[in-house]
Amino acid sequence: MQNLFIFTLMFAALGSAWNIIGGYSGYISLGHAAFFGVGAYAIGITFTHVSIGSGYRPFYVLPLVGIGVALVAVPIGWVAFRTRAATFAIVTITLLFVVQQLAYNLRSITGGSQGISLPPPSFPVATFEEPFFYAMLGVLALSMLASWWIRGSKLGLALLSIRDDEDRARGLGVQTGFAKMVAFALSSGLVAMAGGVWGYYIGFIYPQFAVDPLVTIGMVLMVYLGGKGTLWGPVLGAFILVPAQQYLAYRLGASNLYLVGYAAVFLVVMLLLPRGILPSIAERARRLRTRRLPPDPGRGPQAKEVVAS
């Protein structure tokens, strides 16, 4: 069953990475799947020219892919951040389609619609999944580490202040441009690394699957479900949704209900649980706690009754 585990970890990593820009700063990037695809293609293109050696080479190249994509994300972010809110989201959607189109059109580099196929590594059958599993776990750990570190840092404060009121933050002297750019680049690099592991694992990189709007939707949905802006929310969201989705497809397939299902879950989350599971639980817990606070000492015997109920 480790195969499913790999995809779950992958989405947990993607969600955590997306959270860094989408959750902390409030800039909803709907094109992150583009970086996922770029990461996958980067590994694919590299290893059509370089041999995969013992099979571990792609994993060593992964950090380079992450850094490379993060750097590429900077000019993209510069153009995108000239807009705000809704327009930013639209621009990132457009980014997704641009990258997909490039993947189709730059045939000599990406193989066009014929895609790129990577030779499967010669890992022993019984433990074939393990290297990929650990690689994905590594990307997830990195994502969460980055997320955790940012939460406690000045960068994190800057991002939160942007989310609350960007103009005021800027007026107060917060380096909004720099903060957004760092978050965007970091987020993109991590997403690309996940894409690289995915590309190597599946072994076939096609434009419509590597750069797929459904990957973005999955990422975003899981973050919202688990709790946007929290540390563990994206991970929780992934651990709930990915097995559920694969289970439904495996057991109940044979109709296009999965799209409707995705849509339904999304809508339910947006409308009924917009802050996600973890914050809602935290909220409920806090309310329970405050209800149990000792009564105002000046109230006397009535207070005891209140506490007892």
Partner: protein
């Protein structure tokens, strides 16, 4: 975020992880033969995927009604991959390691067959597949793979090129334009044809490859017909084939020869989409026709109509390809006398095997060594016209004017 919520999150994650890591109970090894298949029952490939399922189901029902295989009943375990490579990889892994199927059959499309076959190969399963015939699949050099069609997809146009050579020199086309779809099959077919045609002296006056989402082919056809070519070769799937025809009609251009690798070989869809009056004289290729004199074809056609109704021209090729996969497996198992993947693989790599798709044999990479049929629209009907042994009508050229 409080400690409590963190703990809750960790508990859920741990619980899910535990269930994911847990294995499943082993299933009995005697009893019915379990065949694991992942098909695209939803998503982009759902229509052909469902046609493949019909073929598989029909074959299984027929086999079980006639004594099964080696006295055992056949049980198909078909799961949906939603036309996604992620899912297809998971599916075959689950089928093999969790459901412990005895055998596997292939999914729909080269895009999914590649990743699926790699998984099956890892576990030593034979992979007989109906619909993965693109060059990328054979480039994997998988010994366990067998594409159950007479020829790899890229050679679809070879019979047309051979036919052209049989014409008197004066009637052969001198110039050609090529307009192909950018996908793993269509443009390779057109490219392969172009290479052969250029060698025999047909001048290429225009060639282009257009992206998959191009719904409007008017500008491309405009450029293709500008040098007034004798022949237009379309490396197409269905939608763009229809668009090319419509664009040609609108531009009022009638080439002497018109060939589409796909789309024009659909007996009912093509005339309904481009107009029944506009089909005559258009060539295409096909791996199977309902009237081909291949082994067991009459039986297949009658069984299909019995179960699904309609007439034989409405039978989708994908269903016949699926039946052929089952048919081939039966023959192989009969030869080796056991449900043994390794033995089946060795046996299939030798000799020729008669199926409704023709007499098949493969090279080391699973690529079949035969040829497809050339079909043409004659008198409003799609008929095989070449080679002669499979022809039901004489091929004719040049192409009549639109609407005739």
């Amino acid at each position: 975020m409080g400690k409590r919520t963190q703990i809750i999150a960790l508990v859920v994650v741990a619980a899910v992880s535990a269930s994911l890591a847990a294995g499943a109970a082993a299933s009995p090894t005697a009893g019915p033969i379990k065949i694991g298949i992942s098909l695209s029952l939803s998503g982009d490939f759902s229509d052909p995927g469902k046609a493949v399922k019909r073929g598989y189901d029909l074959w299984a029902a027929y086999v079980n009604a006639h004594g099964g295989i080696l006295g055992r009943q056949v049980q198909l375990k078909i799961v949906d991959d939603a036309s996604s490579p992620n899912q297809v990889v998971s599916n075959y892994q689950n089928l093999i390691t969790r459901d412990k199927v005895d055998l596997t059959f292939g999914p729909f499309s080269s895009l999914l067959t590649g990743p699926a076959a790699t998984v099956a190969n890892r576990y030593g399963y034979a992979f007989l597949e109906p619909a993965g015939g693109g060059p990328k699949v054979f480039a994997l050099h998988l010994h366990n793979l067998f594409f159950v069609q007479p020829a790899p997809v890229v050679k679809c146009g070879d019979t047309f090129v051979q036919y052209l050579k049989t014409l008197p020199k004066a009637q052969q086309p001198k110039t050609a334009s090529y307009a192909s779809l950018d996908d793993p099959f269509s443009s390779p077919i057109a490219d392969a044809m172009r290479a052969k045609l250029e060698k025999s002296g047909v001048k290429t006056v225009y060639k282009t490859i257009y992206p998959a989402e191009t719904t409007d082919l008017t500008p491309i056809i405009g450029k293709a017909i500008a040098p007034k070519p004798d022949m237009i070769i379309g490396g197409t799937q269905s939608v763009d084939a229809y668009s090319q025809v419509k664009a040609l009609i609108q531009a009022n251009y009638n080439p002497k020869f018109l060939f589409f690798s796909n789309g024009a070989n659909s007996p009912t869809e093509f005339p309904s989409k481009v107009g029944a009056k506009n089909v005559n004289g258009i060539f295409s290729c096909s791996d199977w026709t309902p009237t081909a004199p291949t082994s067991g074809n009459k039986l297949f056609v009658s069984e299909y109509i019995k179960k699904y109704g309609g007439n034989k021209f409405q039978i989708d090729n994908n269903s016949s390809e699926a039946w052929a996969v089952g048919q081939l497996l039966q023959l192989a198992v009969k030869k080796v006398g056991a449900i043994d993947n390794k033995k089946i693989i060795t046996a299939l790599h030798q000799g020729t095997w008669p199926t409704i798709e023709g007499n098949l044999s493969w090279d080391a990479n699973g690529s079949p060594s035969g040829n497809d049929l050339l079909v043409e629209w004659v008198g409003g009907k799609l008929l095989p016209v070449y080679p002669k042994s499979f022809a039901l009508a004489k091929p004719f050229s040049p192409k009549p004017a639109w609407g005739k």
